[in-house]
């Protein structure tokens, strides 16, 4: 039996079913009636300073909770989110963008409607470039089907979708559609079995297999399948930056972050020597691979979009299913392999420090990640450097704390951070849009305010969106923000230096005075940093912002390696 509802109500229910408990955005006259409907629902509306801030927050929310949503007005709202939505597209964050729009009945006037650009479809056309599915809710008959279609596309592709809602349709009546029946193709089984068989054979024949795990392990929630694969095979694994911490980094088979020639030399060596790299759910990007080309003849590449073994492709292979079956198929062979320690004789090994029944014979090479750091002892008068900052942070991060990094050396330096158990790591490692971290923190903490986030942001990025920390006061959140203040765009100083890389210095630690709450601390030396960490830890009632002065040419090892490579392309 069909039941009547309104388009608003149906959309709100669709959001709720998909897992949206909070929606980020700013109202405007084309969308305010829908805000009013949202306010009546159980979905909480979270207001940011700017629409871009809302979009970054919703993106981060989606990375943590599997779906995020954003609600803005026409053009001046929507077009202000294009960059952030493009980032969600590039890095596969499932985000529902809802934009108000002129009413269907208003569209045939002789005068121009405010906020309009070339024509009333301009915004829709723009969003076609940064979303996987779009709809305009201009017809009560099709609206519920359109809502179902785009939300399903968002969840399937883990990428943004766009819903345009003309303001005179908000209260339009519509019918709830009957439930859909799934069509399962028998063809896909055949393809899957062929692909699996070939992958298994290639892996069995390999002497030194290794896994590169990417962010889709988390996006498609196949962490357990992946853990089983690790357990059954005993293979060592790396992640790329975007996939950092997809599963707990204290896993004994974890070698570290692979960043091509930018990264830990031990990790590079292992990958280069491997005769079978199994890439699972990773986007192959220049920032992640350090522009190193993989030898495709030695790889198995499985992601949600593409599946290929060496140079040939298979269609419609489900990533989670593939990982699950691979774990099953390889189990017996790998037990044999472990017992005989096949193909492991040429590198140095240490026994796993978390030996289990299955893993006692497991031998994993020593890398920067899995060996114990020399203890950090603060030199009280020594000026802070970025290397020492990250070294110190490794022993500061509490279990469970989300780590949110912005772009620049925050991101590169963070590759060596050891993310503790139950913590998530978020950084826009591929799209690399500056200004992500502060609003993203709102998205991470709003549903779980007890998970106190650590935020690492450069001065350039802070000047773009930093004032969104105002939301931490508005919503009672207590993250700890580290501003790595090197007075400019330091990454670029190594590409081509010039005045354009200088930015005006701010007293970032005085922001609590602007927003009326929070603790601000200025740090120049290692001794001051120790004190600041102590104060931050104790200040649980409000956010803390620590302004860390660094030399303008100070850099992490990763940045050093990156800029010496990128420089060749640029200069």
């Amino acid at each position: 039996m069909t039941r009547e509802t309104t388009i608003s109500e149906y959309l709100i229910q669709g959001l709720q079913k998909a897992g949206v408990d909070h929606i980020f955005g700013i109202p405007g006259d084309y969308v305010i009636k829908f805000f009013s409907e949202l306010e009546k629902s159980s979905i909480e509306t979270i207001g940011t300073c700017s629409e871009q801030g809302a979009a970054f927050a919703a993106d981060a929310y989606s990375r943590v909770h599997g779906i995020g949503a954003l609600c803005v007005t026409f053009s001046v709202g929507g077009l202000n989110t294009v960059n952030a939505v493009a980032g969600a597209y590039a890095e596969k964050a499932p985000l529902i963008v809802i934009s108000g729009a002129p009413g269907v009945c208003e569209r045939n006037t002789d005068y121009l409607l405010h906020h309009s650009v070339k024509d009333l479809n301009s915004q829709l056309n723009i969003f076609k470039e940064v979303t996987v599915a779009q709809c305009v809710l201009d017809d009560p008959q099709s609206a519920p089907y359109e809502i179902d279609r785009v939300i399903a596309a968002c969840l399937k592709h883990k990428r943004p979708v766009y819903i345009e809602f003309p303001r005179d349709m908000i209260h339009s009546k519509c019918l709830i559609p009957p439930p859909k029946t799934e069509i399962i193709s028998s063809k896909s089984n055949e393809i899957f079995n062929e692909a699996l068989k070939e992958a298994v054979e290639m892996i069995k024949a390999a002497k030194k297999p290794v896994i590169l795990a990417g962010v889709e392990i988390r996006r498609y929630h196949v962490e357990n399948e992946f853990l089983k694969l690790l357990e059954n095979t005993g293979f060592p694994y790396v992640t790329n930056v975007l996939g950092k911490s997809v599963i707990c980094e204290s896993h004994p088979q974890y070698l570290g972050v692979y960043m091509g020639k930018m990264g830990d030399p031990e990790v590079i060596k292992y990958i280069e020597e491997s005769d079978c790299t199994i890439i699972l759910g990773a986007l192959m990007t220049d920032t992640d691979t350090g522009t190193t080309q993989f030898n495709i003849s030695k790889t198995i590449y499985a992601s949600s979009d593409e599946f290929c073994i060496k140079h040939h492709y298979f269609k419609d292979i489900d990533l989670g299913e593939f990982i699950y079956r691979l774990a099953q198929e390889l189990k017996a062979d790998c037990e044999q392999r472990l017992k005989g320690q096949l193909g492991c004789s040429e590198t140095q090994f240490i026994a796993s420090n978390q030996a289990s029944e299955k893993k006692e014979n497991l031998l994993i090479p020593k890398t920067a990640n899995n060996s114990k750091d020399a203890e950090y002892i603060a030199q009280s008068e020594t000026p802070m450097t970025i290397k020492r900052f990250f070294k110190r942070l490794n022993s500061f991060i509490p279990e469970g704390s989300p780590i949110i990094c912005d772009v620049g050396d925050c991101l590169f330096g963070s590759a060596t951070l050891k993310i503790p158990k139950d913590s998530v790591y978020l950084g826009p490692a591929f799209y690399t849009s500056m200004g992500y971290a502060i609003p993203a923190t709102l998205g991470v903490m709003i549903k779980n305010p007890e998970l106190r986030s650590l935020v690492i942001v450069g001065d350039g990025a802070f000047q773009m969106t930093g004032p969104e920390l105002s939301c931490f006061v508005k919503y009672n959140l207590n993250p700890i923000i580290f501003v790595l203040n090197n007075k400019g765009y330091t990454t670029q100083r190594y590409l081509k230096d010039g005045n354009y890389n200088d930015i005006h210095n701010w007293n970032y630690h005085l922001f609590p005075q602007i927003v009326g709450s929070g603790l601000g601390i200025e740090v120049k030396t290692e001794g001051e940093f120790e004190e600041a960490l102590q104060k931050a830890e104790n200040n649980t009632e409000s956010f803390t912002i620590i302004n860390i002065h660094l030399d303008k040419y100070d850099k992490s090892d990763t940045l050093y390696r990156l800029t010496s490579m990128l420089g060749k392309n640029v200069v």
Copy 2:
């Protein structure tokens, strides 16, 4: 004789020829080599906090100087300007957007390039929606012609254009093309004469003609032609908000701003009673006309894009030429008309207060704009209101000071501001994107720092882009910023109130502490406002920011009329 150059040099020369002395933007690795070339040229590179700030600044620069330019990196830079560029498109600001991009040789790799979205054309496709011409400088042979074509389109249409510059083409050699010969059509003369004749006849037959002047008078630099038309005809004129102050508002024939039912009732009455409204260079927008429909049978509409008399259209009529010839053709008839004071008997008249030989007989109705205000006397303990703010400002604005208004009641309230001689008024009156004013001020002042701007911005808008005031310190500028702090999106409170209209309060007057310079003052009463104005006037060495607390439901007369109308569409 052709001469060799590089694509960069040719582009820089093209910018210079068009009138660009300053370019706004932020570097990134895809564009940094071009920044380095700019630094070697006489064009000054102006760095802002965010790319959107750069775009608003460049937009304002173009409104004052006839052309503006913006230089950003691929995607994370370019896509962050889409909203601001859309605003420039909507309000006809001639803006050249230059974006770096991956090199032509990099485009065929197996891995994804950082900052890329759907594909490498996504950004180009998006900019097609918000610019009038586009090019990609990927071929040294065509590049100089493409540069000429898009810059010419920018100057002709007074709208943004997009130039994408792959990073490996920056130093590519190219040939300077031979000069172009203009083709003049003889057909257009015939059309023009027919249109002019018909317009003249219609005006001569009218009893009560009135002119509505728009922003194109300034964009196409036809202020002198327009002044001549006023002088020769003696017709009263109004502007819309976007066209406010296209010529000096103390002109004796000026009635005020026409905003349909939102505006001054005397102005509405005059327009409604007119039997011939001559609309010159005005976009017909809903915000400008207050959604009132003109009676097309009584209008002559001339703009750069469209020309129609009553309901029929003419093609290719040049706006400036039309105004110039109209002034000539109407002179004799209007001298007769003035002598006989035809059609003027039904309204109350006052003699022009700036009588010249020609105008001594000129009779103009009394409106809020041209009658003398009752003197403002501050009531020292009385809380500030927005009405009193604008009333006080009318006697504070120094001659020559640019007035820059943001969106909301800043804009609506400012309709009644009397802009003094040689001052310009800037406000995004049609596209109405919040956050315009602060970065726009940078664009207005950078070339003429002696023109101290007055900036009127709401708290909501300030939270979007206000921290760009950092640039006032970086570039030694001394504007006076009035933050109308009503703790939320007040315009929307009258549409549909809810928590989503509340914003977190900031101590806006403490921003000087963040950026290390400037004077901040907090104001609650009229007495405090007097003191603040005095201090601001004396503080010529840095910017001044005055945080004016207002009641959250306080509103100007215009806002009152607007919201009671918009409310009907929304609620």
